[in-house]
């Protein structure tokens, strides 16, 4: 399975006036592609702190004590803010609990939805052009080196041709895509209009019809819909019919054959939409070389064949053959540099093993190393090794931590000693002070040094594997991948988002998340929306960026059942469609049953039970999971509810043993003394409770849960 996100041994605490609050204590989990992981727990159990750490938006007083969060080969806790900005919202999006705090109260909803789209589209256009140019330039340079000086002029020409036709193809394709999309939307609109007309409904069929009819001519494109005179006549007839309607006309006033005309339109569009798409990449080259050629008469298969042959013979085969050499050249250069760098890295490891580090020497060393590593990166390959890219920021981070700690540690120790002395003095005097000594927050210097060595070692390992992999390098595949990548960039270059398009997309998104009358709502302010509607807007904003991982922090807590289930369905649907990975945070176990593939139950900063949804619901093992399940009523509950007594512990002074022991009916004596380890129940199911120890007394879950599980099993049997 493809692991999207890995969290290892994450520990986070908060520095507060009263002391260090340990919010997250050594948790590990991973998230696979296309999977939903639910994190369940009471407020204050550290679920939101975890998700905020993943997003890189921890509060200012948060300290990440240890651990790593690995996404796409990068440790999110180490990368620089500039790199995080590229991921946050774009790759990892988050939906917050309180929709009002994620919306700007003095901006209209429409502006808030389209703002990011417009800015991002502009930026990505610029960005794509820069990347495209940089890669092509690099390719050109390597071509020169690989083929020798004599080919210089020729190389420049083929790169220029490639640039031109790539962009040309992308332009043609984007025009086609736009019209195709219009046709698909129009078909839906027309079907809706047909439905209204057949129902004799009098609300706003006029508007639907009007938009449909004005859109119809827009779909005219040789590959989509051919505008015959007959269709034009029909459109005119409908238009005249619409015009004759007064302000509040009824459908009867429309021409009698409206239904037939609409049905015909739908039929035409249906056929057109299913037509195969021409290959615009090859067509773009063909049109560039033969601008006057008439291709309208050819069938799409013939056209594709013709243009493909033309492109291959005229340009592509030669281009790929030459490109292979260039790619191999670039790689060889990089490998040579890496080989040279290895010895330097080994010696750097020794440097960090010293008892005390010299600031100047260390800074000089890492500056030199970072430069060497960055020089050795093979920029032409698109299969990037992230270890090389984050080396500078991660090592710098560790070194800075070391030198700040050298200054701060003695200060902190002094404060701690002073406070302890004062406290002891008071005790000696027989007074009972109403404050406690804040524990010293010291940085472990040895750990920091070990981390630095680990970073270097990781890099050495990755270099070694690169060097040994030399013989399996496939230059042809590499070149084809590069061309695909450039094609992608080219289509991003021509993908222009106008305010009108953004508005259309925003309204569509609003419709998708279930906001009625989106066109009117588009111009309203957040305060004019009810809670559920606001949350939908927030979800629409999060989805607008097409993220990779979606973190939902109690997205439905403030919503009512129908909307809750609509929104859960929405998230599920999007998850499947876009193969999203979802982290779903909630306190309501009922909600996660239909969402989650796996569930992690958290209490007081620790994961206490971890398993698939079936494991946790049909065979819960931890008393806290029992308590959570027992405290919520379902439709057959009649008895008194089993509320969990008391409140969660104060995490400034975390309890010695199991944190849940004080509120736990089933607590054993050992629970108050020693923290239970994770016991393995099955390959997918783990729980941290002493009840699972072979020597522990047998404990049954509360009756309410046993009854419910029995009922659920019966129900499932009946259905099967």
């Amino acid at each position: 399975m493809d692991k999207k996100l890995q969290v290892n041994n994450l520990t986070i605490s908060f520095r507060t006036q009263a002391g260090k609050v340990q919010a997250v204590r050594d948790i590990s989990f991973d998230l696979e592609k296309g999977e939903t992981l639910a994190i369940v727990g009471e407020s204050g159990s550290g679920k939101s702190v975890t998700s905020k750490a993943i997003m890189g938006i921890s509060a200012v007083n948060a300290i990440v004590e240890s651990g790593e969060i690995i996404y796409d080969g990068k440790d999110l806790l180490k990368i620089s803010e500039e790199e995080m900005v590229k991921l946050r919202g774009d790759k990892i999006a988050m939906i917050f609990q309180d929709p009002m705090s994620s919306l700007n109260p003095i901006m209209r909803i429409g502006r808030q939805l389209t703002e990011a789209m417009l800015l991002k589209a502009k930026a990505s256009m610029r960005n794509a052009r820069t990347i495209f140019n940089a890669h092509l330039k690099l390719l050109n340079k390597n071509l020169d080196e690989a083929l020798g000086e004599s080919e210089k002029e020729n190389n420049r020409n083929i790169c220029k041709t490639f640039d031109e036709f790539c962009i040309n193809s992308a332009k043609l394709e984007s025009a086609y895509n736009k019209i195709h999309r219009t046709a698909v939307e129009l078909k839906l609109d027309l079907e809706h209009a047909l439905f209204l007309v057949s129902k004799n409904h009098e609300i706003d069929e006029r508007k639907v019809l009007k938009t449909a009819i004005t859109q119809m001519p827009l779909t005219a494109h040789p590959d989509i819909v051919v505008m015959t005179d007959e269709i034009k006549n029909d459109i005119e007839e409908l238009k005249a019919g619409l015009k004759s309607l007064g302000l509040f006309g009824k459908v009867d006033a429309l021409p009698g054959n409206t239904k037939e005309i609409l049905q015909k339109f739908v039929g035409i569009l249906e056929k057109a939409i299913d037509r195969p798409k021409p290959n615009y990449f090859t067509l773009g080259y063909y049109m560039l070389k033969n601008p006057d050629a008439n291709v309208d008469d050819l069938s799409i298969e013939d056209l594709t064949k013709l243009t493909r042959e033309f492109l291959d013979n005229d340009f592509m085969i030669d281009f790929i053959a030459k490109g292979e050499k260039a790619v191999a050249n670039s790689r060889q250069k990089s490998l040579d540099k890496k080989q040279a760098l290895l010895a330097q890295l080994e010696s750097a490891k020794e440097h960090f093993k010293a008892a005390e580090l010299d600031k100047k020497a260390t800074n000089g060393l890492i500056a030199q190393l970072s430069k060497g590593v960055e020089d050795a990166i093979d920029h032409l390959t698109i299969h990037k090794n992230n270890m090389e890219y984050i080396f500078r920021s991660s090592i710098k981070n560790e070194v800075n931590k070391y030198f700040t700690a050298i200054i701060n540690n003695p200060k902190e120790q002094k404060r701690f000693d002073k406070q302890t002395a004062k406290f002891n003095k008071l005790i000696e005097k027989g007074k009972q002070p109403d404050w406690k000594v804040v524990p010293a927050a010291l940085t472990d210097l040895e750990l920091v040094k070990a981390n630095a060595i680990r970073i270097i070692q990781n890099l050495i390992d990755s270099y070694n594997s690169d060097l040994s992999k030399d013989n399996v390098f496939d230059a042809h595949q590499e070149m084809v991948d590069l061309i695909d990548f450039l094609k992608e960039q080219a289509s991003a270059v021509v993908y222009k988002v106008t305010p009108k398009m953004a508005k259309a997309k925003a309204i569509k998104l609003m419709e998708e998340v279930g906001i009625p009358e989106p066109a009117i709502r588009y111009n309203q302010y957040p305060f004019e929306f009810s809670g559920g509607m606001r949350q939908r807007i927030v979800i629409a904003i999060a989805l607008a960026a097409n993220p990779d991982i979606l973190i939902c922090d109690e997205p439905t807590t403030a919503l009512d059942v129908t909307i809750q289930s609509q929104i859960l369905e929405l998230i599920n649907k999007i998850k499947v469609e876009r193969n999203l990975s979802v982290i779903f945070i909630t306190h309501d176990l009922g909600v996660v049953a239909n969402m989650a593939d796996r569930i992690a139950v958290m209490y007081a900063g620790k994961i206490v039970e971890y398993g698939t949804a079936e494991d946790v619901f049909y065979d819960p093992r931890h008393p806290y999971t029992w308590a959570l399940l027992a405290s919520m009523p379902d439709l057959d509950t009649d008895d008194k509810l089993d509320a969990i007594p008391g409140t969660p512990p104060n995490m400034i002074y975390p309890p010695k043993g199991d944190a849940f022991a004080a509120r736990n009916k089933y607590a054993l004596e050992i629970d108050f003394e020693v923290q239970p380890p994770m016991f393995k129940i099955s390959d997918t199911h783990y729980a941290a409770t002493w009840l699972l120890h072979p020597d522990a007394p047998k404990a049954q879950p509360p009756k309410i849960i046993l009854d419910r599980i029995a009922r659920m099993k019966n129900l499932n049997k009946e259905e099967n």
Binding site: E42, K199, G532, G590, A593, A613, P633, T637, N716
Partner: protein, 416 residues
């Protein structure tokens, strides 16, 4: 266990209540012709999606808004009275009159007498309606005064007898002093304080700059209670009743957890010895484990104090667990009303069905197969000819439907 309230006394009657809000030129019909009544000691659940008007209904009943039209009777006394319906009646009558006069033959001999007769008839009707408006306005404004006067009268009657029967002068004087004191209290008594409210968000509904003692006792102080000892005693009593301790009285709201804050909200509402509590989503902002604590608390209080509760919520499992009868609202209209068991066993209105199909259950296998029924009013109903109204399909089971649907629902019930 669900209890039966068929024979209990009616505490509150909501009669064709309408609450419209102005939205620019348009009018938002937040609550449209909602009628129901709640028996003494009953828990009446009001469910529906957000924006359907359930909170507005609660707030209109407690007079946080001025009702547009319709009445609310509490313990027989009209406390909410809107005037829109009467005004519309007048308008309609005037138009009718105009049409009737136009239809008359102008040249005939009886024209003037006929016209005069019609006008007089209409004017009488209009006058009657105006009287109604006057009465409604008076009740809307002065229901507390009326109630206070009633209380005073009762007190007079009660003490008159006692005083007459008293043997010694001293006793008479004592009784008179007592009467004066009671009268003073009765003068300030307000009927609406017999209804109290618990709000959704325990953080937003408590003043962060007041101690818990001040928050809980505020209602008493406003009613004129000056004796600190009495206030403290009452506050402590309430705190203990809701499961907090005396020491909490001196603290501020931010020092409490969510569940405890909601308990403070409950304590504040029950200190007035209300007959009825409007609980507006009291648990939806709380953690599941704490929800159970608050629901258990409300359940205990209802038994101890004989409270009647209007329970507004969107979590159907909680409503089912807690309520005796349930009303389902959709876009300002009540669409179905039945006892909670009946509603969950035989839902009739398509919107109710869609609501029930959306309840999440802690059962992954069931959940993965669950199909949510989508409610689309345009596709479901054809109200172009026959307008719908609230009809009793089975005993105590009301559905908003027209004639055709009424028959369909009855057949559905019999088929089962």
């Amino acid at each position: 266990m669900k209890r039966n309230f068929d024979n209990a006394e009616t505490l509150i009657t909501v009669d064709n209540l309408c609450q419209f809000f102005k939205m620019g030129k348009r009018e938002l019909k937040a609550v449209n012709n909602v009628s129901f009544d709640i028996k003494k000691g009953e828990v009446f659940g009001l469910v529906g999606e957000s924006g359907c008007g359930k909170t507005t209904t609660g707030r209109t009943i407690i007079k946080l808004y001025n009702a547009t039209s319709g009445n609310v009777y509490f313990e027989g006394q009209r406390i909410v009275a809107g005037t829109r319906s009467y005004k519309e009646n007048i308008k309609q009558k005037r138009e009718e009159l105009k049409k009737a006069i136009e239809a008359l033959d102008k040249n005939s001999a009886e024209f003037s007498t006929e016209k005069a007769r019609l006008t007089a008839e209409a004017n009488a009707y209009i006058k009657a309606q105006r009287e109604e408006i006057k009465k409604a306005n008076y009740d809307q404004k002065n229901c507390d005064k009326v109630y206070a006067e009633k209380l005073q009268k009762e007190l007079h009657a009660k003490y008159e007898e006692l005083i007459n029967n008293a043997s010694t002068d001293e006793e008479k004087a004592n009784l008179k002093a007592e009467l004066d004191k009671e009268l003073k209290k009765a003068k300030r008594a307000k009927l609406v304080t017999k209804i109290q409210m618990i709000f959704q968000d325990p953080i937003a509904s408590l003043d962060p700059r007041m101690t818990v003692r001040e928050i809980i006792s505020e209602g008493l102080v406003i009613q004129g209670e000056k004796d600190k000892k009495v206030i403290d005693e009452k506050v402590f009593e309430m705190l203990e009743l809701v499961g907090l301790v005396r020491e909490h009285a001196g603290r501020y709201p931010h020092e409490f957890s969510g569940g405890q804050r909601q308990r403070i909200g409950v304590a504040r509402s029950i200190i007035m010895q209300p007959d009825m509590i409007i609980a507006d989503e009291p648990v939806s902002a709380l953690d599941v484990s704490i929800q159970a604590q608050v629901i258990n608390l409300l359940n205990e209080l209802r038994e101890k104090m004989g409270l009647t509760i209007l329970f507004i919520a969107h979590d159907l499992s909680v409503v089912k667990y807690f309520s005796d009868r349930i009303g389902v609202m959709y876009f300002g209209n009540m669409v179905e009303l039945a006892s909670s068991d009946e509603l969950f066993a035989h839902p009739l209105h398509p919107y109710t069905k869609s609501l029930l199909s959306a309840i999440p259950l802690p059962d992954p296998n069931y959940e993965k197969q669950r199909k949510r029924i989508v409610y689309n009013p345009i596709a479901e109903h054809d109200y172009s000819v026959n307008k719908p109204s609230m009809r009793e399909v089975a005993p105590n089971h009301f559905v908003y439907c027209n004639d055709a649907e009424f028959e369909k629902y009855q057949q559905q019930l019999q088929g089962k």
